[in-house]
Symmetry: D2
Subunit: 135 residues, 4 copies
């Protein structure tokens, strides 16, 4: 199993009056993790659009909240490719505090042509790189 | 099928540089819809805690993004109870622009004791009211 | 003194772990108020761009936080035009809970040409309408 | 002039449909910068409350927006103490992209007793450390 990992520090902006991390904040964190995963492979969202005329749209998200995280926590977000199809792929993103699983998320992204906003095949170079990160 | 409905106006705060509503914003909207659904039944989040010593934690979310929404759109969010168990329940929340389905979300909430943060049975009065909103 | 007024309900998304409304949330509320003020005058952000080729950029904000607001509060946001210049104008936005002043904000917006991103005179029709809302 | 500096990467969550960083996002970034400044001095928000019974409330913010920032930008946020009084202090926070000034913010924070929510003198140790960061 290969994954890419980033750290997420919890600030006031991420929390709510319940004293814990607001449930929608994990989706923001997930997008940071996917963006840094792409950057690690040498791509930026803005470049993918310019060079290949494609962008990745979020089609589906599933998330399980296992334990609350709180202010000042330092979470580790692990991102991997779970599966790939012709025009879409599924990422698995898990949030840990030390060894403790905080939240577990699956995100289905579809590759679309930026002009037609129609699904298209993943750019070959991206596809080849993703294969190394399939769990 | 019985549901509770609120309108959601899209402001700049809800959008991203892709020109559409940011995917995490729908979770915020969903929470507004659930809160107004409870208020419609005569309950406030802060009261449930004070009166019954319980609060509802988000345990699981699934969301399908069907079509993008954009700045100045007026969405209709329909909220219903899909199923109930002893200590948890599932809400179905659908976002429409006119007749067009924009996003479709399921949220599993668990009722917990605010002291022990342990699952407890739903307060009887809430349970009785929810039954009318089961789809 | 003429102003336009909207109600703002406080949800979990607006609060932080300090148990109060997060300080940046007031800027989001302010933008809702300015947008509804424009809509009340018959304009939408997207129309201003299409019809006049102009948009309003935030140039400067000053905000005083007088009292904290909390979950489930219903705030009233009053928006007025404080002053106008050739290419910019200042809005005054005050947040109340009942008669209590919660926060007091001034926002300087500049009217820019959407192509050149250079300051230009306010569209005449907008200027004429704003004059009625000068405090 | 002594200051503390952090990097801020711009993600989709920080942007809006105008294609630039949303104006309220800078306040979130500012709070990250102040928190990391405190952490650099050996303090966490949660510790200050536990150890000294104090917390810092935002009383006033002024911000000038000089140039827009966009997706994938890497900003540098410089934080310094501008002045100190008995129970409050002013921080100056400037956002740069390379040498270009993007935004310039002043934040007045007041030190309050967490029980009485009344202004109190800054804890001596914090006061002594802040003096080194006065511009």
């Amino acid at each position: 199993m290969t994954h890419h990992s980033i750290d997420i520090r919890i600030y006031y902006e991420d929390t709510d009056a319940g004293g814990v991390v607001y449930h929608a904040s994990y989706l923001k964190f997930g997008e940071r993790g996917r963006t840094e995963f792409l950057r690690h492979l040498g791509h930026q969202n803005s470049d993918l659009e310019r060079e290949y005329g494609t962008l990745f749209l979020v089609r589906h998200i599933e998330i399980d909240y296992h334990r609350p995280a709180v202010l000042d926590d330092l979470l580790r977000l692990e991102t991997a490719i779970e599966s790939m199809k012709n025009t879409s792929f599924t990422m698995r993103q898990r949030f840990f505090r030390g060894e403790e699983l905080i939240a577990d998320m699956r995100v289905v992204l579809v590759c679309v042509d930026t002009n037609a906003i129609k699904p298209v095949r993943l750019p070959g170079i991206v596809r080849d790189e993703f294969i190394n990160f399939i769990e």
